[in-house]
Symmetry: C2
Amino acid sequence: MVSLSDVARSAHVSKMTVSRVINHPEQVSLEIRTEVQRVINQLGYVQNRAGRALANHRHYNIAFILLDNVDEIEPYYAHLLIHLTDVLQSYGYTLEMRHERNFDVTNVDGFLVSGVRHSDYDALRNLSVPVVIYGSEPGITAVDIDNTIGTQLATELLLKQSYQHILFLGMDVDEAFELNREAGYRQAMQTAEKPIQIYKLANDEHVSREFLIGQSLMPQTGIVAATDRLALGALRACIHQGLSVPRDVGIVGFDGIYVHQLAEQSLTTVKQPLKDIAQQMVQLLLDELSGKTVQSVYIVPELLIGETTN
Amino acid sequence: MVSLSDVARSAHVSKMTVSRVINHPEQVSLEIRTEVQRVINQLGYVQNRAGRALANHRHYNIAFILLDNVDEIEPYYAHLLIHLTDVLQSYGYTLEMRHERNFDVTNVDGFLVSGVRHSDYDALRNLSVPVVIYGSEPGITAVDIDNTIGTQLATELLLKQSYQHILFLGMDVDEAFELNREAGYRQAMQTAEKPIQIYKLANDEHVSREFLIGQSLMPQTGIVAATDRLALGALRACIHQGLSVPRDVGIVGFDGIYVHQLAEQSLTTVKQPLKDIAQQMVQLLLDELSGKTVQSVYIVPELLIGETTN
């Protein structure tokens, strides 16, 4: 069977161009359009599934791909997904849910992707339809929060509240979001000329609790955690050691979705504005679909003040 | 514009029958098929969106509708959704995500629905395509766990472990799942000839904590909670009052998704087998689509033993 790639090769254009000729011919020059259409007819390329065969210019269907395993699913995703569904619906688009690495472009106009890791970027760069990721990666249209500013705000809050020893509880993954959260802490500490103390752990409240109990926390410690789960473990280590939060120890988490409210004391945290993120992801994707030049968007997060800081 | 309802009325058949003639003619008798097709041609009914116009017999697309508000979203949904996506994909179907009351049947073969409340049932009964709900309702194909057996198992466990006063912490909603969980506790207590003590609260760990602190829990109390969030509040009330769990108080929650692991001590809980539920929901829907007579399925749940019982 003749594929989109075959058409692209014979017509000496990219798969994206072939896809544009099929779905958005108005965005392609007459010359290229004519040539690609000639190759399509010559090779007998059959546009698969119902929508395409009708020569509609859009499927009005966007796939959301979740790249995490079911065991790693955070409450997070349900919220992002519902916001994306609502935003797409407001534009007359449907959201097709995908799990794991299903990059089949049949019947979709584009992809929204979350949970992307290093190993996925090549596949994403080679797709024939537009992609917007939730995250950060050069060369891929992205929406993200500014993770660095997030932890900078968190660190500055603890500095302002006069905690003496401020440490960073990071995740032991080598991904941009984590390194940026670490950098925000580092920058704020350097500006304040305070010593830097960084620990990296699995993202699990039990792990961070045990680890900090082993460290015997001192009064007047401030903890900047890379996630609310790590912050939750820190809070429990304090309770275990008889340290009062926020009087003896101040804690700021990161995410602000579900977990921060479930803690014994509501966590002060850097809040991911998922509704804004969803809005921006859809906007960028639709702009790209209509041929506009788009730039990645970084949203400045805000602190959500809970009961773990003064 | 001529609608599916117009065709149904003129042909003196149900909308479901018209839908079947269009999507699964093999399931409809020759006589009815011929008549409905005659009316379709006569009225000039245009099957909307790409798929139908192609006269494909299936869209191979199922809509999942989440009927809860974004503020009420439990971690739960992300897990159910991912399992449904995986199962549908294994059958060659896509999952279209819907939020709130979007029962538009364009381009979908059927609906899977979660978070259904009383007020939704009429709308669900009047759809022209098959529906399977996660829940229980006479006259609608459903997959559910047997909630009554769930709390019966929970209550029997606490009875066996010799807790003296066993109370039920329910949700203050008038929905079948809650009433069935209450009934399971009631039946186990009646069989054991023990006094029944039922409280109904908002499903919030802070609410149940405050409530139980106000009640001054006695040692040798067993608590059957209708959700893990209520159980989490019960655990915190015990910690606050200096009662040791499970030595002084035994607690069993309900759900076993995310929250039970995030608790200070992992909760013993009635586990919702979401993977099985997803498998059964899809199976029933596809059976119904291929014209089989289907019956609602009730899955017997199991206890997940944590650190809040002996």
